[in-house]
């Protein structure tokens, strides 16, 4: 099969999503829309201190309050084993268990220390006030500088920096060391015709999904449990809850509710183990939900970063060497995507000599979580800013400079293997040819450009395809639909089977009703779960052909499948046709109902690259920056449903613009977050943004039947530098610190 020459009936069209009517009429059930009879309401007591030893907790007064049915603290959770969990960003089961409920220490303001379940939300809240926690307040560190200072308060006395050889003799807050050293970067930079560099900083930023975390848990007397939750993976919840509470996976059935945004932030558990433990004690179902303030103080954020970089080029603009050291805030527990950051920092360019050193730093912030292309945006901000500086120094067009150095198919990738059919060069060429790039700028406006990419992922997925008696098609997966993936699944099934899109319906099943699927995350679902759907559809076709052959009395391999029907080719069957509906109608009495469930773990996913162009107007008096025009260009392989692919580019760009201009966690000297709400943590609103134009560059992935590449992560990588490069030109000073608030732009020095 040669994807570029395929023609399609369904792939590439823009049908209405199967779950659309439910979502525009208010019928779709999200995290807090689901309820059970007799359900209790939970609430979580959170540490007011950034760092404190918990000497004791007295919940007796809370338990005595009428209507309170259960109180749990760290002592009610088993000591979880230290098991590494791989994922969008790797984590450790023991850390996850301690993050959902503190044991001996509270590690950030907002860290859960106790929880109650009561007959009403008001009683649950009142009960929290009656729980007495005896804290020994400890010194805290909420910044990288404070956490790595010689006298820094230690978060974990058993943390001996992994990745350092030899193993350090004393514990520290350095939670991971990664190093890449190829060639001789120092010598290359010494001989470079132009060197750009500096000290770059970014702040922790929240994923900002509008739906707060929520779940309902129920425990039966026989030890079987059920959880209903909005998350990026019901199977993730099953395995993490089982691990944290020491239960068998088959005894936990997790039903995915609709999810109101995730962006990586709903790839772990916060409430579910606590709700289940409360339900177990109370003997009744329990709902736990977070307020917005809890979401900010106890979930997310993406790591903040401090980056020192030097990037050198020869006089023709060929990159010769790079040196980069970065520190990322992991928050309370290790895990801040330093590994992908180090691998991806220069992944788009051929740089023969490179020395990259990365550190993760634990500190008294919420434990960082995955956020779209985890690890990549921060380092890309520094690298793409340096490229802009080099272009200015050498008098080379910024896109031209990137084209000179861009990687293409066959070039060595970050893992040392040759790249497959990647499309960075095509994206740069599309950007250069785009009318936006050559459009004249209005007075006072400037233009920035930046590129970026993400490795993407495959991973295990299961899908089932079943035929109803009338030939309509039921697809079942275990991949939560965050942004229209039901539509993509239905389209791939319809394309494969040769039936109309409208005859296919998709269900996202609970963990007892379909085989395992990894998270919806890492830009894997359309690729990997799509593979599973296509494979299951192909099995259904094979069965349908066999049934037709049986009816016609011919060999199955003489029956062709096209346009949703079996076509006879041999003997008397030649010219005969049986449609899928006809075969399905006879199936029950002629061999049995037709269905197939297929589990896959497909290789062959490809990285996605994008190039963004941003026009800004800077108000020289106020320092206010307004994005006036924006274009996002990305190699998407092939878009199954272009509107939802464009939407990924537009949404990621908007989030990146927010990261660049407004968003930041702000901490006071007391270690408490000062802006845990949307009023003070300002995400972009409609009036902040222009239309976001998109260009979908099609360079199909030969390892996917329909050419799919992951698209969701990449769009947040280029915007930080695209905006900063525009603002730097307007301000006449390189912008190295995010967010580029008015004060920062007007007064901020080059710290």
């Amino acid at each position: 099969m040669n994807p570029p020459e395929q023609s399609f009936r369904v792939v590439g069209t823009r049908p209405v999503r199967p779950d659309g009517a439910d979502k525009v009429t208010g019928r779709a059930l999200y995290g807090t829309d689901f309820a059970l009879a007799g359900m209790l309401h939970g609430a979580v007591l959170r540490s007011p201190h950034a760092h404190a030893r918990i000497r004791g907790i007295d919940a007796s007064r809370a338990l005595a309050l009428p209507g309170v049915k259960a109180v749990v603290t760290g002592a009610d959770f088993p000591e979880a084993a230290s098991v590494a969990i791989a994922g969008e960003s790797a984590a450790n089961l023991r850390d996850i268990a301690r993050n959902v409920m503190a044991r001996d220490k509270a590690l950030y303001e907002g860290h859960a220390v106790a929880a109650v379940a009561a007959t009403s939300p008001a009683i649950a809240r009142a009960a929290l006030a009656l729980i007495a926690v005896d804290y020994e307040v400890l010194p805290h560190a909420t910044s990288i500088a404070a956490a790595i200072a010689p006298d820094a308060p230690l978060l974990h006395d058993d943390l001996f920096t992994p990745g350092l050889k030899p193993r350090p003799e004393t514990p520290s807050n350095l939670a991971l060391h990664v190093a890449i050293d190829t060639g001789d970067a120092a010598a290359a930079l010494a001989g470079a015709a132009a060197v750009a560099g500096g000290h770059y900083t970014t702040q922790p930023v929240h994923q900002g999904y509008i739906e707060p975390h929520a779940c309902v848990a129920q425990w039966n007397a026989d030890g079987q449990a059920q959880i209903w939750a909005s998350s990026q993976g019901a199977f993730m919840i099953r395995s993490l809850v089982a691990g944290a509470l020491g239960l068998k996976q088959a005894d936990i059935r997790v039903t995915p509710l609709e999810i109101g945004g995730g962006f990586g932030g709903k790839t772990t558990v916060y409430l579910e183990p606590v709700a289940l433990q409360l339900a177990r004690q109370a003997g009744r179902p329990v709902r736990l939900e977070m307020s917005r303030s809890e979401v900010f103080r106890a979930t997310g954020p993406a790591p903040g970063a401090v980056i020192d970089i030097r990037l050198g080029a020869d006089k023709d603009g060929m990159l010769v060497g790079a040196e980069m050291t970065f520190h990322y805030t992991a928050g309370a527990f290790p895990g801040a995507a330093a590994h992908p950051a180090a691998l991806l920092a220069l992944a788009g360019y051929k740089v023969p000599n490179r020395k990259i050193t990365g550190w993760e730093v634990v500190c008294n912030l919420p434990s960082s979580a995955a956020y779209r292309a985890p690890g990549a945006p921060q380092v890309a901000f520094a690298v793409e800013s340096c490229l802009d500086e080099l272009a200015l120094q050498l008098g080379i067009d910024p896109i031209e400079l990137r084209l000179k150095n861009a990687v293409g198919p066959g070039d060595t990738g970050p893992m040392g293997l040759p790249h497959g059919q990647i499309g960075l060069i095509e994206c740069l060429e599309a950007a250069r040819a785009h009318p936006h790039y050559s459009a004249p700028l209005a007075p006072g406006e400037t233009r920035g450009v930046a590129a970026g990419g993400w490795a993407n992922y495959g991973g295990p997925s299961t899908a089932a395809v079943a035929l109803a008696e009338d030939g309509s098609v039921l697809v079942t997966t275990g991949s939560p639909d965050i942004g229209g993936s039901r539509a993509a699944m239905a389209m791939m099934a319809a394309e494969t089977l040769g039936v109309p899109y409208e005859t296919v319906r998709v269900t996202i099943a609970d963990t007892a009703s379909i085989g395992f699927s990894f998270l919806t995350g890492g830009s894997r679902t359309t690729f990997a779960t799509g593979h599973a759907v296509i494979a299951a559809a192909n099995q259904v076709i094979a069965t349908a052909r066999a049934r037709a052959a049986q009816i016609w009395g011919v060999a199955a391999d003489t029956v062709a499948w096209r346009d949703g029907a079996a076509h006879g080719t041999a003997g008397d069957s030649a010219g005969k046709v049986l449609t899928l509906a006809e075969i399905a109608g006879k199936a029950a009495n002629a061999g049995g109902p037709i269905s197939a469930e297929v589990g896959v773990n497909p290789a062959g996913w490809l990285p996605g690259f994008g190039v963004h162009i941003c026009d800004c107007a800077l108000d020289a008096e106020t320092g206010q920056v307004k994005v006036t025009r924006y274009t996002a260009i990305q190699d998407v392989g092939r878009a199954i449903h272009p509107a939802y692919v464009e939407g990924q580019l537009q949404g990621g760009a908007a989030q990146g613009i927010g990261w660049a201009l407004n968003e930041a966690y702000v901490y006071g000297a007391d270690g408490r977050m000062e802006n845990p709400g949307f009023l003070d943590y300002r995400v972009p609103v409609a009036s902040d943004l222009p239309m976001i134009d998109t260009v979908l560059v099609d360079k199909p992935n030969p390892d996917h039947p329909y050419g799919v590449k992951g698209v969701g992560e990449t769009p947040i990588v280029p915007p930080l530098a695209a905006v900063a490069n525009a603002v730097s030109r307007a301000a006449g000073r390189r912008q190295r610190h995010l967010p580029m608030s008015p004060e920062q732009v007007l007064l901020g020095g080059d710290a």
Binding site: T25, R27, Y209, I210, G260, G483, A643, Q655, V685
Partner: protein, 164 residues
């Protein structure tokens, strides 16, 4: 503590419910009235997910007391589709792919209808400012704004046909 008994009109139909004096209208809609289409994203008036109409004015239902609904008209996303037919705004949102997760959608739809009722032919800028109180983290607003402007066109045409 005795509860308040509130009599009101929701989406054109008479309705009554019991609430505490400090319950929000959002809590009453989602709780005793069972209308969970209206969402809570912040509870503090900053996200617009809870947008409803109260006597024809657009409000954040998380900031309105449930008791204030006494004798007034409340309209929610559940009342947008009439007789099973989607409102042009709902139709255009679906056609444009103007929702990804869909959590902001009920609030955006109610706010957008209020805009088009006041101004059937808004400019892009007018639409952006009117909807600035409705956060959407997924879409970057592009398709949302296009859907709203297209729905305005549909409504003007409908209106034109009726007049003609």
């Amino acid at each position: 503590m005795s509860k308040l008994h509130i009599t009101t009109t929701v989406n054109g139909d008479p309705a009554e419910f019991l609430c505490e004096a400090d319950d929000s209208l959002l809590a009453a809609l989602r709780g005793p009235l069972g209308l969970t289409g209206t969402k809570e994203g912040c509870g503090s008036g900053d996200c617009g997910a809870c947008t409803v109409m109260l006597d024809g004015s657009m409000v954040c239902s998380c900031l309105v007391l449930a008791a204030e609904a006494q004798g007034r008209r409340v309209e929610t996303v559940e009342g947008l589709a009439e007789g099973g037919a989607l409102h042009p705004l709902q139709q255009r949102f679906l056609e444009h792919g103007a929702l990804q997760c869909g959590f902001c959608t009920p609030g955006l739809l109610v706010a957008a209808r209020a805009l088009l009722e006041r101004n059937p032919d808004p400019s892009e800028e007018e639409a952006r400012y009117w909807l600035a109180g409705n956060l959407c983290r997924c879409t970057g607003y592009d398709k949302v704004i296009r859907a709203v402007l297209d729905a305005g066109r549909d409504l003007r045409q409908d209106h034109g046909e009726k007049v003609a």
